[in-house]
């Protein structure tokens, strides 16, 4: 217990996890900004899907920045400004400041048209608020951070605790998603009789490949297996996640599940957010193994004749 408190106060845990969360969330948002650039006024503009006055009736917070003007040009400025902030955060430029700006702009964008969002975007907003409290700019940044200033010990402890608590908050938040999703499903008759995925697959809104509902229609046993598998997985995740040995396998399964959802249901940004959230839960040991693996793979590529060697020979001569 004492060791746990010591670790919590004396060192910042999961710096790679925090950095990956920063990179993942900002990449998703940057992709969103460019992907929806052509329809931005229709989605978030004053003459878009939701009338400006109707939006104002449901906008309460001062940091909801789209509320301050009904001019389409204002939306453009905020929109592209938000994209620049996401790019800066991705590169790790002043992450302490840009993460706060990123959380505000992300929240504001999705709050402008709540009905166009899915659960993934809600999770993205929540994680971006937690990101503000994380020390996410220590590693994996393009710009090297300045020399570490001497910080008084009490302040250092406080900052460590805030960072570690936020990291725990991320894990807690992801567990909440799985736990509630499973809890609500247990109350549904189609999840209990094993047919729920049949309805999802046959909904025209989620149809990406017509072959998927046809295939599942021919194999009702498989539909039941996937339906029960989803409920069992979501119920087990919040409990087994805290076991170091099982965690890696659980996260690998979660990544496969969400990649499947992205491909078969077209919920790309939802799946990407869930994958980023899942990956940020990996333990330090797995991260070190991954870093070592990529480093050795990179060295192997370096040693292949003609890839980097020619370059270095030229430079040497």
């Amino acid at each position: 217990m004492v060791r746990l408190v010591e670790r919590f106060a004396f060192q910042r845990l999961g710096l790679y996890q925090a950095a990956l969360l920063r990179i993942g969330l900002s990449s998703i948002m940057l992709t969103q900004y460019f992907w929806h650039a052509g329809v931005r006024q229709m989605l978030w503009g004053p003459y878009g899907q939701l009338d400006y006055s109707e939006y104002l009736r449901h906008s309460y917070y001062f940091f909801d920045i789209y509320r301050y003007s009904a001019a389409p040009q204002y939306v453009d400025i905020i929109y592209w400004g938000s994209a620049i902030i996401a790019a800066m955060l991705l590169l790790g430029v002043f992450p302490r400041v840009t993460s706060v700006a990123f959380a505000i702009t992300t929240y504001s964008l999705f709050a402008r048209n709540t009905l166009s969002t899915d659960a993934g975007q809600t999770l993205l907003v929540l994680l971006s608020f937690l990101l503000c409290f994380l020390d996410s700019g220590r590693v994996l940044t393009v710009f090297t951070t300045r020399a570490v200033r001497r910080v008084p010990a009490p302040l250092r402890f406080l900052r460590n605790i805030v960072h570690n608590a936020a990291l725990f908050g991320v894990a807690w938040q992801v567990c909440m998603v799985y736990a509630w999703a499973a809890f609500y499903k247990l109350g549904g008759s189609t999840w209990r009789d094993g047919t729920a995925l049949h309805y999802v697959a046959n909904s025209t809104h989620f149809e990406v490949f017509r072959e998927v509902p046809r295939f599942l229609g021919l194999h009702p046993g498989l539909t039941a297996l996937f339906t029960y598998g989803t409920v069992v997985f979501q119920s087990a995740f919040p409990f087994l996640m805290w076991n170091e040995r099982l965690k890696t396998w659980l996260i690998a399964m979660a990544i496969c599940l969400h990649m499947g959802i992205a491909v078969t249901m077209g919920l790309i940004s939802f799946s990407a957010t869930m994958i980023v959230a899942d990956v940020s839960l990996l333990s330090d040991r797995v991260f070190r193994q991954l870093v070592d693996f990529f480093a050795s793979a990179f060295r192997r590529i370096e040693n292949i004749p003609g890839i980097f060697q020619g370059e270095s020979t030229r430079n040497a001569s």
Partner: protein, 151 residues
Amino acid sequence: MQRALSFYSGPQVSQSWSLFAPDPPDYDLRVLIQGRTRTQRLTSWYNVTDYFLQTAAGNRLTPTRALSEALFHSTTVIKERTLSQWDVAMDETVRTSTMVIERYVPKSQLSAIRIAIYSSPIGYPAATAPSALTLVKQTGWRPVPVVTLTW
């Protein structure tokens, strides 16, 4: 203070992760829109939902997918009679439908529009579903809202 506390229960960040729960919808919803011209002529009914589905079938990564996502959620709110979001859902459905009819009929010719939402059941097995459509909601004639039209 109350506002700060209500932040976590607001529509944007609520912690109700009911992903396809308690049950996924066992119906498909279709939105149709009809216009009345300045010469009092009625246009045909245009299928708004199919317009977005066909666009998505032509390009899996179309950004209009987000527009149809809003239409899907809005019509589900209307079908399920979720009163807290009813006004927003109606506004979004009417405005999104107007964006589609203006692709076929110039705005200058339209004097009013009305929309109809139909549902069709998803059967188990799929072949057992009756093909009949049920009217969920039909609005009266409304003035044409001003909408952005760029895609």
